[in-house]
Assembly symmetry: C2
Homo-oligomer: 243 residues x 2
């Protein structure tokens, strides 16, 4: 892991881009840090550049609460090499959605399962690098809408202590089985009117999680319309579980 650029944001947060082999990522740390801080991994559906405004806002909120935050580019997104199979699955999904057809579980499996297989070890490698930095300690939380990646990470990565998951659709049925194996505390956000979201699937997934401490927070509004109070509640969840 090597840093490729750095800048100070208005609020003093230090933003550093890094490269993990060929994979670009961004690390944000609070303006002034005396002791090693906990870390929140910011999951996203891929496309760091497009997602940057929302990611930096989440990172700045995390930094204000005393946490570092970091993210890496997804496999096949941004400038990373495309996979022909993933591109095909993505095209099939778009076509099915455009036709208003029910999205076939097989398309979702083809799109998401290889992504999870590839992304999770990358997140773990990023975690190795990030936790070796003197300014970052633990514990580690995962926050994100790439919910299948969050589920797999919660199952296989013992360094992750708590997760805020944004309920979304396109979850392979196989992930429901993995969800039953999740035991860390979960705070699940659901946008009630999310046009691209299957609400019942999200509720079923919440039901499936094996965690003894899990809560679901549904707010009105579309996919990107998470209200301030819901964001605040998610931040408080991390403040309670990562300190």
């Amino acid at each position: 892991m090597r840093f490729t650029s750095e800048q100070r944001l208005d609020d003093g947060v230090l933003e550093r881009e890094f490269a993990l082999g060929e994979i670009p990522g961004i690390l944000w740390t609070p303006g002034s840090v005396s002791a090693p801080v906990p870390l929140i991994l910011l999951g996203h559906p891929g496309g760091l550049r497009k997602m940057y405004p929302r990611l930096v806002a989440r990172a700045q909120r995390s930094a204000a609460d005393g946490f570092a935050a970091a993210t890496v580019e997804g496999p096949g997104s941004g400038d990373r090499p495309r996979s022909a199979a993933a591109e095909q699955a993505r095209a099939d999904l778009r076509r099915a959605l455009a036709a208003g057809a029910p999205v076939n579980g097989e398309i979702v499996d083809r799109l998401i399962l290889p992504l999870v297989e590839k992304a999770v070890p990358e997140w773990q490698a990023a975690l190795d690098g990030l936790l070796s930095l003197p300014e970052i300690g633990g514990p580690v939380g995962y926050s994100g809408g790439a919910i299948s990646i969050g589920i797999r990470l919660a199952v296989v990565e013992p360094r992750i202590s708590a997760a805020v998951l944004f309920a979304g659709s396109f979850v392979p049925r196989a992930m429901f089985e993995e969800a039953r194996q999740v035991t860390i505390p979960l705070h699940v956000l659901l946008q009630w009117d999310d046009e691209g979201n299957d609400r019942q699937l999200a509720l079923d997934l919440f039901d499936a999680f094996g965690s003894k401490e899990k809560s679901l927070h549904a707010s009105l509004g579309g996919h990107t319309g998470v209200p301030q109070f819901a964001g605040d509640a998610a931040a408080r969840f991390f403040a309670q579980h990562l300190k």
Copy 2:
């Protein structure tokens, strides 16, 4: 409205029992009050004596946040005269539940609709009396699990500004229509594993509410197992909306 007894609780909260005609009630006010405080009406399924431990805990939390809290006995509960029709409906409901039969909408209508008809004007009369006290100002919130009473109050009583509703079952279908007329901010609590609760009904009811600001907070656990963090979030909702 006349006060019949008063005592100071350990935390300095002043607890006063009152009578509103034949209807007993309890008012809790913060230990030290300089200006008139907002008021939270504590709804419950009936039976003040049995409910007292949970009500006083909610009242003390409200007082700690700077609010008065008050409740009145439900029609046909505690020492109040029974209605033969309500007793019959209650017995029919118990029998249906014991038999594991699906609870008939007609039984629920017979039990709940007359209760709402009778209880709501009583809550409004209590509100008249409570708001005439110099130590109580406004705004007013409703917090409670007698969700049909909360829905009707939210529709007909403009002095109520916000509500925390505990999703429960036994909601007459007619209340779904009223739910669409609710416009005040709502914070809805759902206990995911509530043995006496129809989860889908609770989700449908949440969906029906007409409020532009509404959020659903589902936590693991049974009917009385609302976790501390969920209670805290509900308290913050009132702190944001009743100041």
